[in-house]
Each structure stands twice: as structure tokens, then as C-alpha cells.
């Protein structure tokens, strides 16, 4: 046995220190408490997740310019509000979120836009000119016909339609023009400044920018620039 072995054994003795019983008891009790807390990591995870979710909801509402001073809004509600805002064209855009009405209003607006059945639309939604008989929809549009029987209702509705037609006939053309004329896209005649002639695609003569004079090989062609108006189907530049 080397002398260093004795020294090493002496040093090892330091590691066999006796822990006082009262100290060990207090340590073991504290460790038991720490262990019970450490065995519930799901609680800490749930708390952390809730903090993140709630923080996200408040941050979203704040980012949209809403008042963040409301009681903490659940994230699901906040997301609904944010998603429905762009389609709500409401003068109440700056209203407080605390009453929770905005999200519901937005939802109703969406339903009306999609033609939800079962609700009669308000007249103001259909007729932008309710006070002008010459413009907009008939006043009886959207209203049920009056009458006790089907025949009466039919007769009353016919009378209303005839009266409305008579009123519309008396309207000035410029006001009634928007809806009285032919539909857009129907040809009404050549616009001003457009020379009359055969339909497009039929050769007429030298195109614009071509040197004047009869085309080569056609000695008696009409003078350039003079509208000829040949009958449809006639050869261009011919007699």
C-alpha cells in the first residue's frame, strides 16, 4: 500500500460526512413538495398556452385599431371580429367591442349578401331612389299584393303595375334613359364621326396612309378619300 493510498483514503473520508437527522428531514420534506409540483407539468403547459392565446387575441384586437381596454376577449371571439370586419360597411365601425354586437352584425350582413331565404329584404336595400317614381324599382316591389282573395290580389297588383308604367312613360327621357333604352351593347347606328360604309372586313379602298390614286392595275378606280358606300358584298374599288 502506497503512502498516497492512505492520503486518498483520508480524502475519501470527507465524502462520508454524516448529514444531521433534522437537516435530512427538512430536506426530504422540501424535496417531496418540489417533486409533487414537478409532476404536474400539464398545469404549467396549460397556463402557458392560455397566456399565449389570450395575448394573441388582445394583440389582434389592438392591431385592428380596436380598443384594447375591454375585458380580455376570448381568442375565438376576437378572431371572428377581425375576419368579419372588412365586409361590414357600417358607420358604427368605431364602436366599442365590449358589447359584442359588432361580430353579430357582421354575420347578419353576410347572410343578407348571400340571399338568405326567409327574410324579406328592406325596401331601402332594393331601391336606391325610393322617393323618385322615375327611377329605381316600383314602389310595390317587395310588398305583398293587397287583397282578400287571389283574384283581388292579382287585380290590385296589375293595377299597380299599370299605374307605375303610366308614371314611367311620363318621365323625361334623360332620367328614364338609364333604364328605358336598349341595353348597352346593342348597336343604335353609327356613332358620330364614323363614316358609313360596308361592314368591317369588306375592302373599301386604300387604307389610311396609302398613297392616293387608284390601286395598281385598276385604272378607273374612284378617287381616294371619297366615300363610295358600295352595296354590301360589292368589291372594293370596283364600279
Amino acid at each position: 500500500m502506497k503512502p498516497s493510498d492512505d492520503l486518498i483514503d483520508r480524502i475519501r473520508t470527507l465524502g462520508r460526512a454524516e448529514v444531521p437527522a433534522s437537516v435530512a428531514d427538512s430536506h426530504l420534506t422540501a424535496m417531496a413538495g418540489a417533486r409533487s409540483r414537478a409532476r404536474r407539468p400539464w398545469l404549467a403547459a396549460v397556463a402557458a398556452l392560455a397566456a399565449v392565446v389570450l395575448g394573441t387575441g388582445v394583440a389582434s384586437a389592438t392591431w385592428q385599431g380596436r380598443s384594447p381596454s375591454v375585458p380580455i376577449t376570448p381568442a375565438s371571439e376576437a378572431e371572428e371580429i377581425v375576419e368579419e370586419e372588412p365586409v361590414v360597411d357600417s358607420p358604427d365601425d368605431g364602436m366599442d367591442l365590449s358589447d359584442g354586437d359588432l361580430g353579430d352584425e357582421g354575420a347578419e350582413s353576410d347572410e343578407g349578401d348571400e340571399g338568405e331565404e326567409g327574410e324579406a329584404p328592406e325596401p331601402s336595400d332594393l331601391d336606391p331612389f325610393p322617393d323618385d317614381p322615375c327611377r329605381g324599382a316600383p314602389p310595390f316591389a317587395g310588398q305583398p299584393p293587397v287583397g282578400a282573395t287571389d283574384e283581388e290580389r292579382s287585380a290590385n297588383r296589375s293595377a299597380e303595375a299599370e299605374a307605375f308604367a303610366a308614371v314611367r312613360e311620363a318621365c323625361p327621357d334623360d332620367e328614364a334613359g338609364e333604364g328605358a333604352g336598349p341595353p348597352p351593347g346593342v348597336p343604335q347606328g353609327p356613332p358620330a364621326g364614323v363614316p358609313q360604309g360596308p361592314p368591317a372586313g369588306v375592302p373599301q379602298g386604300p387604307p389610311e396612309g396609302t398613297p392616293q390614286g387608284p390601286p395598281a392595275g385598276v385604272p378607273q378606280g374612284p378617287p381616294a378619300g371619297v366615300p363610295q358606300g358600295p352595296p354590301a358584298g360589292a368589291g372594293a374599288g370596283g364600279r
Binding site: 503512502p3 498516497s4 492512505d6 492520503l7 486518498i8 483520508r10 480524502i11 475519501r12 473520508t13 470527507l14 465524502g15 462520508r16 460526512a17 454524516e18 448529514v19 444531521p20 433534522s22 437537516v23 435530512a24 427538512s26 430536506h27 426530504l28 420534506t29 422540501a30 424535496m31 417531496a32 418540489a34 417533486r35 409540483r37 414537478a38 409532476r39
Partner: protein, 183 residues
């Protein structure tokens, strides 16, 4: 077996298994109370030899963290021992920082001691250890008080194993010289 409040029954079978490096029969990691019974004496001796101001209090902090994190530990008994002593070293460093940052004030009220102060073990050896360089003292304590292999000591002190062996050899020679033992 895992009842922390009454740890005595586990002592008889726990220590031999850990001493031989074998795992538990059921494959389950040891509980914090078992680790305390196994390692608290060496941790306390290490803290005293390092000159901790309140070794019993630091011992409690170390094993509080062990109890908190033991479920996440994976490894054999050697790794477990190394892990506990890594925590011990960190708590010791934290304690030294706290004490250096906090000015010592003299209070007229002396609190009642909750535990009886433990008698120093081999004060002559502790004095000799105190005269080593900090690195030499750390290597000697981790090798023979914490009972860690050279590789684990090298990992803890962030030196090569060869450097740890050389440092250990010089430290033992210095201690023999200080203690008046023949080299």
C-alpha cells in the same frame, strides 16, 4: 420504496445497487429521496471542503433541484452522480456570487440556529486542501470525495483527461508534503 418521508427502508438495497453500477430491478430511475440517501453525505463533504459558508443550506438547494428535475434525467449511476455534482458546483458558484454582491451587515438580532453545527471533519486535511490551487483542489475533491472517474471530472472542469491526471498527481504530492507524509 419511493416514499420520501420514510427513506430508511430503501437504504439497505439502494446503496449496493448504485455502488455496483447496476440499475434498479424494475428499470425505473431512482427517486429523489433515494438519490439523497445515496449522495447527500458526499455532497455535504464536498461543500465543506470547498469552504461553503452554509453547507447544509446549499445541500438542501442542490437536492431541491434534483427532486424537481430527476424525472428528466437519463443515464447510469455514474452520470447521475456527475449530474448531481454539476448542480452542486453551480449552486456553490451562485452562492459565492450572492454573498459577494450582498454586503455583510452586523445584526443585533442573532437568529436561533435551526440545526446544530456539524463538527468539522479532519481540519488538518481541510487546511492542507485550502493551500492547493483552486484547480488542484477541485480535481482532488471531484475525484475522491465525489468519487467521479477521470473522464467525468475532465468534463466538469473542462480539461482534457490527461491534464486532470497530471493535476491530480501534483495535488497529491503537494498534500503529502503539507501533511508531513512521506512521498
Amino acid at each position: 420504496v419511493t416514499d420520501v418521508a420514510s427513506p430508511e427502508p430503501v437504504v439497505s438495497w439502494l446503496l449496493p445497487r448504485h455502488a455496483t453500477g447496476a440499475g434498479r430491478d424494475d428499470g425505473r430511475a431512482p427517486g429523489a429521496g433515494e438519490v439523497y440517501l445515496w449522495l447527500a453525505p458526499s455532497v455535504l463533504g464536498y461543500l465543506r471542503a470547498r469552504g461553503a459558508a452554509d453547507p447544509e443550506d446549499l445541500l438542501g438547494e442542490v437536492f431541491f433541484q434534483v427532486a424537481r428535475d430527476i424525472d428528466r434525467f437519463r443515464g447510469d449511476p455514474v452520470k447521475l452522480r456527475a449530474w448531481v455534482f454539476r448542480i452542486t458546483r453551480n449552486r456553490l458558484i451562485d452562492d459565492a456570487r450572492r454573498r459577494s454582491a450582498r454586503p455583510q451587515s452586523v445584526s443585533a438580532e442573532v437568529p436561533e440556529p435551526t440545526v446544530e453545527p456539524s463538527a468539522p471533519v479532519d481540519p488538518e486535511l481541510l487546511d492542507a486542501l485550502a493551500q492547493l490551487t483552486p484547480a488542484q483542489r477541485e480535481v482532488v475533491l471531484l475525484r475522491f470525495v465525489a468519487d467521479l472517474p477521470v473522464a467525468e471530472v475532465a468534463r466538469l472542469v473542462r480539461r482534457r483527461p490527461g491534464a486532470v491526471k497530471a493535476m491530480q498527481s501534483r495535488a497529491l504530492a503537494r498534500l503529502q508534503q503539507l501533511l508531513g507524509q512521506p512521498a
